[in-house]
Amino acid sequence: MPDTLTPVLTDNWGDDRAWTLAAYTERGGYGALDKAFAMDPAAVIETVKESGLRGRGGAGFPTGMKWGFIPQDNPRPKYLVVNADESEPGTCKDIPLMMASPHTLVEGVIISSYAIRANKAFIYIRGEVLHVVRRVQRAVQEAYLAGHLGKDIHGSGYDLDVVVHAGAGAYICGEETALLEGLEGRRGQPRLRPPFPAVAGLYASPTVINNVESIASVPSIVANGHGWFASMGTEKSKGFGIFSLSGHVRRPGQYEAPLGITLRTLIDLAGGMREGHELKFWTPGGSSTPLLTAEHLDIPLDFEGVGAAGSMLGTRALQIFDDTTCVVRATLRWTEFYKHESCGKCTPCREGTWWLVQVLSALEKGQGSESDLDLLLDQCDNILGRSFCALADGAVSPITSSIQYFRDEYVAHLTEGGCPFDPARSTAWAGQEVLA
């Protein structure tokens, strides 16, 4: 039984100048690279398959299997693209990882590219995180100078070039095909699939797109063995993951633990909820995953456990809201976010989010009638699974789940003619000022 917390990716974040090559190497960094080069690329894929690593970007597709889809008989160049567009509300794990230990990512990129036989890799970082871009740019530069990138890496005969690419503000580019569009210099609108990126991705060539945390996990798997990785986590959700606690807990932050840990444990580690308040609702994996409540404190936070509770593990972005928070306000704000970020390509998302915001704003102001809740649910039904990509599915998650758990609170807005909550009470500084 592994320990409650299992720092692997976060293990060096507290080191002095952890982001530098020197610090990373000091801890044995880039050692996994030689181990990988000693293996056949196919064997690296096999190791990752065997480890049970599932995509850390939300969907949880087995990483090794994704790599295995790359048709090696395709004469076109293969590409690895790292999805570092971390933008899902609540998700805040890849950014600190790249800030603190960009070399973990770079080493992962090299091993992963080697495995799929790519000679060119791209790290697509959202543009709004300047210092992270700097750190990754620097790490790549250092890796080149140290011979970890470029021609004939470590004398293996393997060549790899890495380009750090900054995005420019579009949540949708977290969707892998929209990201490819952005990387090709186009509007970030998702592509029709098939063909899948594994067959025709970047420049219509076989392409693997993986989340930062997935790629960053690879060096440890190669270094320590797939069995080591699989010894953590649950039956179908292997390994460790970074759990990001935010909101109304005493010590929000990053907690790296085997998959399957519960929110109760995590909140305990975080010192509990704010003084005098109770957990009201939370997102297990970002705002696109249906809300859960205190009744779900003990579900195992793995793909299966959260799924069984009617939500999704997603990115383990645990946004914690206490009883001072108005769920209608929270839901409206998320819905405004999805409206703002809808790419515009398909009707239900583009028009549906436009309308949802109008209905929700009225409700939040206490206008409308209870039948509007049924209208909302029917709109959501007409959006869910009807849109081109998963963005709109995410958009309806907070609405349907909040109505499911907090219908009375919606009704209260109507009966009271407005929001019954005082937003000041939920702020980070609430209680610290003198209340009138």
Partner: protein
């Protein structure tokens, strides 16, 4: 023993309980059409790549063919059929029906309720499908929903207007402009609910094919300045027709009301124009209603033209021609095949001459010989062949400007290069035009005059892969380059490549077939072949003159020298001819001129008798495409104010016959002419051979001086003049729609970067016929070549500058 049926690529599936088999890769939305189910759709268009954006076509798929269903409705426009698949559409599935109604509701929340003033109302897919697949009431409006609003229409070009409120963002227009036309001057801009179609402010949507976006817009978001607010669809009568602006033979639909054309749309003919037409074909119809349109016959009396009755005009024309001495016939290239046949017969039967030529533009004896030997009766290349050809060589032809549908086909053919099967386009031209880039083509940079050598050299250039899977398309402009057409024929003969001649005008090929040439009789019968003459003479009841005729330049020269006295001119603009000044002088010199024209021109002003001819909307006829494909069409209107050329010629011939000259034509109607042409049929004897003596034209003392297409200039210029006509230019058939013309390309002179640096940015070109000053643009031309558009300034290059291929001087232009 029964034979095992061949394994086919058919896939069997069940849609709404009906089992059907369709070819593999068929999309469910189209398979459904085969069982009679129209799944509603907006973004889907059969000629555009599937996009799955509007989501209107959702269907329920309980079994994807693998025993498992999709948990949610699927877009049928992006879902290929699979063996054993089960699909339930809105016809049988409440899930699909609700899904579709949900999408429709979303589409309508931001759509204005301005159907009563919208041009699309009555033929609007959104309106229609909202009725068939939408809710009766609006839950959005009922709750006081706030619609997205924009300022009403904005011009995205002089011609095309965009009403963003009406747009449902199906992206058909942007996909058309990118995928089909290759002119992505419109693009989706902004994001989310504010996404809209837009242009870059300084770069309007100036595409030769822009009108197609209006036609495929499934709502009233795109309208034309030309048709906006002009009519309601349900008040229109539609008549199918064929476009008269080029040799492509595009199917069009003419929508008219009370005797006036309101608009023209692309017809759907997969073998020819698919569903597209050029803007010229769409908007170029106002010429027929211009104020200078001729509406009654006129005769010259005391030096002035005066109105006359038809019988009087026939009689006066006949008398004049009978007294004029030798008479030539110039038909122009815009006549229908039936009219061309009438001119051809008129020359031989009524005037007793072979002095007839349809080529009202620079031409050559070599070309006449080429047409007789390599073109007439040949149907060796089709549009479909362009798609399957390995290589298509273009010589003297700029398809985007001169044959829009060839351009679109070649672009489509070449665009498959990504999948490994694309057609390679190779152009022998002075520079790589934007059109060539859009066809992903390669340039064989060739100075004007060097085309023959360039063609001959292609054989040796293995990289172009000219073999029997290749096609060579030669444009009419090659006529002016000695040896070029022969070189093209030689290249085809040596390699087995198929050869086709692409003229610019709709009537050109029909005129070749009808024998409007000094060396050809109808049906490809060589004048020089006694058997052919007898064959025709027997049908016509005359002895066909044995003497080969004069070509157009020869006729002009003979009129000038007095060898010919009379001339019958149908639809010729002197400024199009080899030497406009000589043509005008010849008309002055002629003792008797009969003009058959639509509108007042320099020819009618010089004529002794003027007959108003019917525009193509007012008569039946046939155009023959560059492929040799007959494209018959019927009259849209019947108007008594003008007559088809053939009826006029019949009238004159009858009067001539009464005077004892020649014989009547024997037909008065298009139907009768068609029947006679049919009866005569094609020549089955030996065809003329290129370079053979039998194709020689009548030697004329003056033709050689006129140069018959050879460079006319002796000016000591440094620059060889390259030119062709832009699609949208000053051509008279494009008169009457200012918005259309404003979308044309501004005239510029193209020079090599070196020459540009020396002379730009404004240049004055001087040739033996005059000087013009134009803005200059650098392009990858030879340093001693300059390109200008042929008819985009003044009276055009031939009248105002010099003849193509001749040399001009360039001076730094005055700043203007």
């Amino acid at each position: 023993m029964t034979t095992v049926p061949e394994k086919t690529d058919l896939v069997t599936l069940t849609i709404d309980g009906v089992q059907l088999s369709v070819p593999k890769d068929t999309l469910v939305i189209r398979a459904a059409e085969q069982v009679g189910v129209q799944v509603p759709r907006f973004c889907d268009h059969p000629l555009l790549a599937p996009v799955g954006a509007c989501r209107q076509c959702l269907v329920d798929v309980p079994d994807a063919g693998n025993g498992r269903g999709f948990p949610k409705p699927q877009a049928s426009c992006t879902l290929p059929v699979a063996e054993g698949m089960v699909v339930n559409t809105q016809a049988t599935s409440p899930v699909a029906d609700k899904a579709q109604q949900g999408i429709m509701e979303f589409l309508l929340i931001n759509h204005p309720l301005d159907c009563p003033v919208c041009d699309k109302g009555g033929e609007c897919p959104l309106q229609n499908q909202a009725m068939s697949n939408g809710r009766a009431d609006s839950r959005f409006s009922a709750r006081g929903g706030v619609k997205r609003t924009y300022p009403k229409p904005i011009n995205i070009s002089a011609q095309v207007l965009l009403d963003r409120e009406r747009c449902v963002l199906c992206a058909r227009c942007t996909r058309f402009s990118e995928q089909i036309a290759g002119d992505p001057f419109i693009a989706l801009v902004e994001r989310g609910a504010l996404q809209q179609v837009g242009i870059y402010e300084r770069e309007p949507f100036e595409s030769y094919f822009s009108g197609n976006t209006i036609q495929i817009c499934p709502v009233g978001a795109l309208t034309s300045a030309d048709y906006r607010f002009r009519s309601r669809p349900f008040d229109l009568v539609s008549t199918p027709s064929v476009a008269e602006h080029d040799a492509c033979g595009s199917a069009i639909r003419i929508d008219h009301r009370r005797g006036k054309v309101m608009r023209r749309l692309a017809g759907n003919d997969p073998e020819v124009n698919e569903e597209w037409i050029t803007d010229k074909d769409r908007f170029g119809f106002h010429y027929a209603t211009e104020p200078d349109r001729l509406t009654y016959p006129q005769i010259r009396e005391d030096g002035e033209l005066r109105p006359a009755s038809w019988p009087e005009a026939f009689a006066v024309a006949a008398r004049g021609l009978s007294e004029a001495g030798g008479t030539g016939v110039l038909t122009g290239g815009r006549v229908t095949a039936e009219d061309a046949y009438a001119y051809s017969k008129f020359a031989r039967v009524a005037l007793g001459t072979n002095d007839i030529d349809f080529r009202s533009r620079p031409h050559s004896a070599e070309e006449a010989a080429f047409l007789a030997a390599e073109v007439v009766l040949r149907r060796t290349v089709t549009y479909a062949d362009l798609e399957s050809a390995s290589t298509v060589v273009l010589a003297g032809l700029e398809p985007e400007d001169e044959a829009g549908m060839i351009f679109l086909r070649l672009r489509k053919a070449a665009g498959r290069a990504g999948s490994g099967g694309g057609t390679r386009v190779v152009s022998i031209a002075p520079y790589a035009s934007r059109g060539l880039a859009k066809m992903h083509g390669q340039l064989v940079r060739t100075a004007p005059g060097d085309e023959a050598a360039a063609l001959a050299a292609l054989v040796a250039q293995g990289e172009f892969g000219i073999d029997k899977t290749a096609v060579i398309l030669v444009g009419e402009r090659l006529a002016t380059v000695p040896g070029a057409l022969s070189a093209a024929a030689g290249l085809a003969a040596r390699t087995g490549a198929r050869l086709a001649w692409v003229p610019r005008r709709a009537g050109d090929r029909g005129a070749v077939e009808a024998g409007c040439l000094p060396n050809l009789l109808p049906g490809g019968r060589p004048v020089a072949d006694a058997g052919a003459r007898v064959d025709v003479g027997a049908d016509w009841g005359v002895d066909v003159p044995e003497t080969p005729g004069r070509d157009a330049d020869g006729i002009i020269a003979a009129l000038g020298s007095g060898e010919l006295g009379g001339v019958v001119v149908g639809g010729v603009d002197p400024d199009d001819t080899t030497d406009p000044a000589a043509t005008r002088a010849a008309l002055e010199a002629a003792s008797f001129v009969v003009a058959l024209e639509l509108r007042e021109t320099d020819v009618t002003r010089a004529a002794d008798v003027v007959f108003p001819v019917a525009p193509v909307s007012d008569k039946a006829g046939t155009f023959v495409t560059w492929e040799g494909r007959p494209r018959p069409f019927e009259a849209v209107f019947s108007s008594p104010s003008s007559l088809p050329d053939l009826r006029i010629l019949a009238g004159i011939a009858e009067e001539l016959s009464a005077l004892g000259v020649g014989r009547p034509l024997g037909f008065r109607t298009v139907a009768e002419a068609r029947a006679e042409m049919e009866e005569m049929g094609p020549w089955d004897g030996e065809r003329a051979v290129l370079g053979g003596s039998e194709t020689a034209l009548r030697p004329s003392s003056t033709t050689e001086e006129a140069g018959a297409g050879a460079p006319s200039s002796t000016t000591e210029g440094h620059f060889a003049l390259a030119t062709w006509k832009l699609m949208i230019d000053n051509g008279s058939l494009q008169d009457g729609d200012k918005a259309y013309r404003a979308t044309g390309r501004a005239p510029v002179a193209r020079l090599s970067p070196t020459a540009y640096d020396a002379h730009g940015p404004t240049v004055t070109l001087t040739g033996d016929r005059g000087s013009v000053t134009l803005p200059a643009e650098p392009a990858e031309l030879d340093d001693d070549v300059v390109w200008v558009p042929a008819n985009s300034f003044g009276n055009g290059v031939l009248a105002d500058l010099a003849s193509p291929g001749s040399r001009v001087t360039i001076a730094k232009g005055a700043d203007q």
